[in-house]
């Protein structure tokens, strides 16, 4: 049988014949045949009773899913009945994912008719002669050659694998989530290490010991454990890029390992370098270091041997920070003439005492012990979620933004970087007044796109003017909104980061019905299920989404 197959193969497909007669590497695929049933790795390749009818069914299903089929590439060789029928209808190429297993099959099954019918048989995707084609994956190959199939579907590996290590806590955590969300829009394969789950453990360690040295020992052991987890992910996922942000628990051990494996290391340090000084120990290990401050900080980075450092301000995430239609109840509850959302830093406590005569609501945490502003602090100073503060921005006439300082009583006149709140408020198309910052003018045109103040008198003048003439200032907010959407979103920042490292991000065009289409297009599982339920025919991926929706409905009521 094998000789017969080879003879025909040589005549019609000499290229593959030449590959086949070489001493090919043995794969661990097990091919068994018992007279009328072919099994590969114990999977039945075609029906024992009526393989032709089965082939017709499979082809019919394929044709239902695709439209305007011209040329077909059959991925695999396990079902000759299907290949024959397809090659009778369409111009067909067979892609052989495993030469050794194919050779084994040729010992049992006569492929001569197929060899005559098909246009080409290849084992390299580049050799496929069609420009556009539909891929028909045989069921057995779908199970056995999953990785090869994935590579086959992905065009010449035009993607990067990125491992993002989330911070354990802090303001950089939501930013890490926005980064992940935006990375997923591009030709990036992303895996996220959710380090935030360890926050509670670390707090526990902090509180349980009475003697400091034990606390330090245990904390170090715990951080070492996290490092090992990250190393485990690196070994398994094999990323091209390791991506960290401020407070990501990436140790020198991990960084050295990445260095040895040629993995590119990126860090976005979105903290004040004067307050958080751990960058000194870690920055030299990174290939690319992004910061929200420049000038003096750049000098410092240069001094310690960091080569690739870039200024990259934070931004807004328009899927979260957006204009909202609020109900009357929400407007009443979240709204006020002036609002502030943020933690109770020293300068804010001092400065806001000048505003107690206004209709002023203060939202956010860490206001404990505050007496003078007590009546203005909402809900006992509980932490406010992004969804809530977006409602506050939308409901307030004026959103006050004062960058924090732990030692100055008001505006830090030497403050340079711009905080996330600046972009977030602007992205909701709401009126904002922010304290002057050194880097603000290059991001927004002062008083044209954003209102600024340097002291309490200037602030009060602007507030009073807005109260008298709000429509004039709505236009400023509108311009600020446009600027954010056009230039200052996390999507823009991600593109900038990857441009710097020399990788061109592209947005894949997702086909309706694929998992990526749903991840990309919808925000909730209910929306996905609604969309799928309106379809006449659904595929297996879509059934999994429906299953997710049912699990949620049944158990998370």
């Amino acid at each position: 049988m094998y000789e017969h197959n080879l003879k025909i193969l040589k005549k019609y497909h000499p290229d593959l014949y030449n590959i086949l007669i070489k001493d090919n590497e043995k794969s661990n695929i097990n091919v068994v045949f018992n007279g009328n049933l072919l099994k590969i790795n114990n999977l039945t390749c075609f029906s024992k009773y009526n393989p032709e009818k089965e082939a017709e069914k499979l082809i019919h299903k394929f044709e239902e899913e695709k439209s305007n089929i011209k040329d077909v590439v059959v991925f695999g060789f396990s079902n000759p009945f299907v290949i024959k029928k397809i090659s009778e209808k369409y111009d067909t190429v067979i892609y052989i994912p495993d030469i050794y297993a194919f050779e084994e099959v040729l010992k049992f099954i006569d492929f001569s008719e197929i060899f005559k019918n098909v246009k080409k048989i290849v084992n390299n995707k580049k050799d496929i002669p069609f420009k556009e084609y539909e891929i028909f994956t045989l069921p057995v190959e779908k199970k056995i050659y999953e990785n090869k199939l994935e590579e086959f579907y992905t065009d010449d590996k035009n993607y990067l694998k990125v491992l993002l290590v989330n911070p354990i806590y802090g303001g950089s955590l939501p930013i890490a989530n926005y980064i992940a969300k935006n990375l997923n829009k591009f030709n990036i394969k992303l895996k996220v290490i959710n380090s935030e789950i360890f926050h509670e453990c670390l707090n526990y360690i902090k509180n349980i010991f009475s003697i400091k040295k034990f606390e330090i020992n245990t904390t170090n052991s715990f951080l070492n454990f996290i490092s090992d987890l990250i190393l485990n992910e690196i070994e398994e996922f094999k990323p091209d890029v390791l991506f960290g942000v401020a407070q990501s628990p990436i140790s020198v051990k991990v960084l050295n390992y990445c260095q040895s494996k040629g993995i590119l290391k990126i860090f976005w340090f979105m903290e004040d370098y004067k307050l958080f000084t751990y960058w000194k120990e870690f920055a030299p290990f990174y290939d690319f270091y992004f910061t929200i401050q420049k000038d003096e900080f750049f000098n410092e980075l240069k001094k310690i041997g960091v080569k690739n450092y870039y200024y990259l301000p934070v931004a807004a995430e328009p899927s979260v920070h957006k204009p909202l239609e609020l109900t009357e109840e929400e407007k009443k509850y979240y709204g006020s003439t002036i609002s502030f959302v943020g933690a109770g830093y020293y300068n804010r406590r001092m400065f806001f005492r000048n505003l107690i005569d206004y209709d002023f609501k203060i939202w956010g945490s860490d206001w404990e012990g505050e007496v003078i502003l007590k009546d203005l602090i909402q809900e006992n100073g509980r932490r406010i979620t992004p969804e809530e503060y977006v409602k506050i921005f939308n409901a307030s006439l004026i959103n006050l933004n004062l960058h924090s300082s732990t030692y100055l009583p008001g505006v830090d006149l030497n403050g340079d970087f711009v905080n996330p709140r600046t972009f977030e408020i602007a992205a909701t198309n709401s009126i904002q007044i922010v304290d002057r910052r050194k880097y603000l003018p290059e991001l927004f045109k002062e008083n044209e796109e954003i209102l600024v103040f340097s002291d309490i008198n200037e602030l009060k003048n602007i507030i009073n003017d807005i109260i008298k003439n709000p429509s004039k200032y709505r236009e400023v907010a509108e311009r600020g909104y446009k600027r954010v959407i056009n230039e200052h979103t996390y999507e823009h920042r991600i593109i900038e980061i990857f441009n710097k490292i020399g990788f061109q991000l592209e947005k894949p065009s997702f086909l309706d019905g694929t998992p990526d289409f749903y991840f990309f297009k919808f925000n909730s599982i209910e929306e996905i299920a609604d969309y799928i339920n309106k379809k006449e025919k659904i595929n297996d991926d879509e059934k999994i989404f429906l299953l997710m929706n049912e699990l949620k409905k049944m158990y998370l009521k």
Binding site: V32, L37, K39, T44, D110, P139, K143, L547, L551
Partner: protein, 405 residues
């Protein structure tokens, strides 16, 4: 060349000929126990059985010898992803799980829950033959639903038998589980009965006042007996409430203190279990214990009564009974009807084989019995059940439909 005549060379076959069945049972503890006769029927036909369950029931299922493999659906993990809106991880975990099931190449699938979750999982698997809800005996199942939809009181089919009806030529097999595996509980009294006051739904929890009265009378009349209270961790308050009312060292409160294997040991040694429609009631049935089953509110014994003849089943005789779990009820009159006198009387029948013919107003006491089609209930005392004949007619008609299928 015709492909029907493909020429094959010979090679020794290494195929595994034992057919494999995937049984999907994602409901609660008690439902899994009610699946045992079906699983035994499959096992007797040399099936390799894999049971897909909610991970919560893993310990129980691991104890069931007839199952070759227990496959837990890690619902908790999926829910965490869904809560965090991490749809990508949830999707990929489920994808991997479905892939794993697909790769097992099962020959049969039997779906035992009427739930969309089960239907979708079943749809996703390319298994040659699918049975169970949505797939088999559709005429019979439609008939069953027509009864339940129009008047649930008239449903004569126990769930255990309905499961069995999904396969051809089933045999009525009693519930039985491995009684050799248990964890011994030390210092148990020689004679005791178990009361399990809690239930899966608040409507069905035993009335604490009636229970207290019963315990008082029982301990007075059965001086050499102890009472053991059982229940889960979150039912602790029920036991505490009873102990506050009764100060007796003859009550041992095991609520929240036993695991599954210890519970088996307690049941094995007890003289009687008093319970509503619960998992422990089915466990007791599978261990051949005496059972006094108190069915009221939404629980209906013709559907989910104990699958054993060693039991008495008490129900209220009220127009509104059985109700549904979703119904709000201000009176819960059905609970009050099954008072301490009724319970004590049934205890006497079960413990002393007392044949005294007592009647209680608006209460029906049934005795389960087996016939060739499964289990059924007959009235123990008197003839109060005015739906008895109609229900019996439905049973005959249903079995005829089944036979014709």
């Amino acid at each position: 060349m015709g492909y029907k005549n493909l020429i094959f060379s010979e090679k020794p076959s290494t195929f595994n000929l034992q057919p494999s069945a995937l049984v999907i049972q994602l409901a609660r503890f008690g439902d899994i126990l009610q699946t045992i006769p079906l699983l035994t029927n499959l096992k007797n036909r040399n099936f390799k059985i894999s049971l897909l369950i909610d991970e919560k029931n893993f310990t129980l299922c691991n104890d069931l010898e007839i199952i070759d493999r227990v496959i837990p659906l890690k619902i908790g993990k999926f829910l965490t992803f869904l809560k965090n809106k991490d749809y990508k991880s949830c999707y990929f975990e489920l994808y991997e799980f479905i892939k794993y099931l697909k790769n097992e190449n099962f020959d049969f699938l039997i779906n035992l829950n009427h739930s969309k979750i089960n239907f979708i999982i079943s749809e996703l698997l390319d298994i040659p033959e699918k049975l169970g809800f949505k797939f088999s005996n559709k005429k019979f199942i439609n008939y069953l639903y027509s009864i339940i939809g129009s008047n649930r009181k008239l449903n004569p089919f126990n769930l255990v038998d309905v499961f069995n009806y999904f396969i051809k030529d089933f045999k009525v097999i009693k519930l039985h589980i491995n009684d050799k595996s248990f964890l011994k509980v030390d210092e148990l009294p020689e004679k005791y009965i178990i009361i399990h006051p809690g239930a899966g739904h608040l409507l069905r929890v035993l009335n604490s006042e009636i229970l207290t009265n019963f315990i008082n009378i029982f301990l007075e009349q059965y001086k050499d007996f102890f009472i053991i209270l059982t229940g889960s961790e979150n039912e602790k308050n029920i036991g505490d409430g009873i102990l506050k009312r009764i100060n007796s060292d003859k009550i041992l409160n095991f609520i929240g203190k036993t695991n599954y294997l210890q519970l088996k040991y307690l049941l094995k040694k007890c003289k009687l279990l008093i319970s509503t429609d619960t998992g422990i009631m089915h466990l007791a049935a599978s261990l051949n214990c005496n059972i006094l089953a108190l069915f009221y509110a939404s629980a209906f014994p013709f559907e989910t009564g104990p699958y054993t003849e060693k039991a008495l089943v008490v129900t209220p005789n009220l127009e509104c009974y059985p109700c549904t779990e979703f119904r709000h009820c201000n009176t819960l009159h059905c609970k009050e009807l099954i008072n301490e006198k009724v319970i004590l009387n049934c205890c006497k029948v079960l413990l002393n084989n007392d044949k005294e013919n007592k009647r209680f107003k608006n209460v029906i006491i049934y005795k389960p019995y087996f016939d060739e089609h499964g289990i059924y209930l007959k009235e123990k005392f008197g003839q109060f059940d005015k739906f008895y004949n109609d229900r019996l007619k439905n049973r005959i008609k249903g079995l005829q439909i089944l036979k014709n299928v």
